[in-house]
Amino acid sequence: MKISSGTIRLIIPAASLVLLLAAVFYMQPRAMSYNGLNLLFNLAVPIALATIAQMLIMSVNDLDLSMGTFVSFCACVAATLLQTSPALGILILLGAIATYAVIGVVIHLRELPSIVVTLGMSFVWGGLAVLILPSPGGTAPAFARWIMTAKPPLVPMAIVASILIAAVTHTIVMRSSFGVLMRGVGGNDRSVERAGWSVIGIRAGTYALAGLFAVLAGIALVGLTTSADANIALRYTLLSIAGVILGGGEFVGGKVSPIGAVIGALTLTLAGSFLSFMRISPDWQIGAQGAILIVVLALRLALNRLEKREKSQ
């Protein structure tokens, strides 16, 4: 009867997801189908990718306030340049990932607060997005459209994609040696450095990986919406942070959970659908989303206390 604390961390997010899903099915039995599930979770894929990106940044004790504008920027590039001149588009996206790596290094070298640097970057990404796509429009690249609208047998694409994202990031963050180093930097960067590793290199890698996932989020988003605009993903900044926290991650100490983060993103997406099924007046939808967030976190607190009591016994 030994459950690791990592598993316990996953119980609450998983249970709230199942509970919400059951509630949705109860109110709208027709949602319990291939198409229903696909519709419910479709928008979760880009949010899950952005949440993973945010989680990577949070694993080295930083916070990325530019996530929303960066995903918007990537969506704009994907809907325009990646479509018309793929080589240039790929080059720009690679440049953006490299920029993320540079930001990670600069924040470390100059001991800058990540919140402020990424705040500044959010203006930069927003400006670039406006320059690339001054008015809403563009077309999704064929491959993105194909992936996001694919209909695999038995299980809808949105679910397949979520499981795939969770599995891949779990391998990188929890199982690979790079993942261990990354969480080590979040836990105690000085001891990682004393052990002979380059903290700069690890941070650059972490930020670049986060950039990569954010780029994928932008492409996935365009694949779903078929067009983009410069403000398309602004709410992703807060959604991604909330997703990580919902999934059992912490702001400091390198305590993160990729599977939890994906579940957190799914829960947040489902909460939106749940509220519209409840026929709650649109006025109160944002507020109810806040309330759901509070309830889930309260549950987590209760469970953490239980966990502590068991440990002390």
Partner: protein
């Protein structure tokens, strides 16, 4: 060497120097014709950033992780409800102000209850709270645009001896905040908590009470700012607070307050607020488009942070 030491000891000098440079560049471009109007506009708009910035500064001083994301929603709710309550009657101005202060107190209390009782990180607690506050604002506003009472609108848009009234209000609030921070035991307490919560608790500082008051203070300043902004712009709008989320954090940090907490300064907020407004108007004067303007604003924020250096050493 002494100049360097002065710059390190008084980080707000940076923001004022930057402000002066941007002001001169802008005025030079227009041939000096706009210097008075530009200064007045800068003071007016900086005043709003200063008021929310001071509140945010107190919260950030509490230490790592402390931040109030409910500022925009509180501004919107306060502006909306106050104008609705006043209903264009001059006699209700004070009642409206009291109501908006009350809203601030309630939101601040709610924020801290979430942080303390549910042990939610402040960033998530204030975010959830802001969702709820925003919903209340949407529900109460219903897209109506109620005008502020005439006397109040007159007050908010005019000035005394060429200085806008809102700037005077912000100045008085900053003076009060400065006294609170530098001369009162409360100011010592929040700095102590920001430097080490554990040590502060050990020395017998009422940590929870101090933090509660700080979150309430921040929310009250945000709602007073919402009240003034709604009066200034002739009515409340649902998105009127949105730009002040990033702005309130940016002015605090550019102004030289340590993001790690425990060290704050008020003159810097003025410098940073004036600077942020002047940069945007300078870029406007030069006729840049929205995209370039955003990019340059972001680049300048990062450049200022890089120049001013990060956390002070010794931590």
């Amino acid at each position: 060497m002494t100049i360097q030491r002065l710059l390190v000891a008084k980080p707000w000098i940076w923001s004022f120097a930057a402000t002066a440079i941007v002001w001169i560049i802008t005025v030079l471009f227009t041939g000096g014709a706009s210097s008075f109007g530009l200064s007045q506009a800068a003071l007016t708009f900086a005043a709003f950033s200063v008021i929310v910035g001071i509140g945010q500064m107190f919260v950030i001083t509490l230490g790592p992780g402390n931040i109030d994301l409910s500022v925009p929603a509180t501004m919107t709710l306060s502006g909306t409800l106050a104008l609705k309550l006043m209903d264009v009657q001059d006699g209700m101005i004070v009642v409206g102000l009291l109501a908006s202060v009350g809203i601030g107190l309630v939101v601040g209390l709610g924020n801290y209850i979430l942080i303390k009782l549910l042990r939610i990180p402040p960033i998530i607690a204030t975010l959830s709270m802001s969702f709820i506050v925003q919903s209340v604002a949407i529900w109460s506003n219903r897209g109506l645009r109620i005008k502020p009472p005439e006397t109040l609108a007159e007050f908010a848009t005019s000035g005394l001896f060429g200085i806008p009234n809102v700037a005077l209000v912000a100045l008085i609030l900053s003076a009060v905040a400065w006294v609170l921070l530098e001369k009162s035991i409360y100011g010592r307490w929040i700095s102590a908590i920001g430097q080490s919560t554990f040590a502060a608790r050990m020395t017998g500082i009422p940590v929870d009470g101090t933090r509660l008051v700080t979150y309430m203070l921040c929310a009250v300043l945000a709602s007073v700012c919402g009240y003034l902004l709604a009066s200034f712009s002739g009515g409340a709008a649902l998105n009127m607070g949105s730009e002040y989320l990033l702005m309130s954090i940016a002015v605090v940090v550019i102004g030289g307050t340590a993001v790690a907490g425990g060290n704050s300064n008020i003159p810097g907020i003025w410098g940073a607020s004036l600077f942020m407004f002047l940069v945007v108007s300078m870029l406007n004067t030069y006729g840049f488009g929205a995209g370039v303007r955003l990019i340059l604003t972001g680049t300048i924020i990062i450049a200022v942070i890089l120049l001013a250096g990060g956390r002070q050493s010794g931590r």
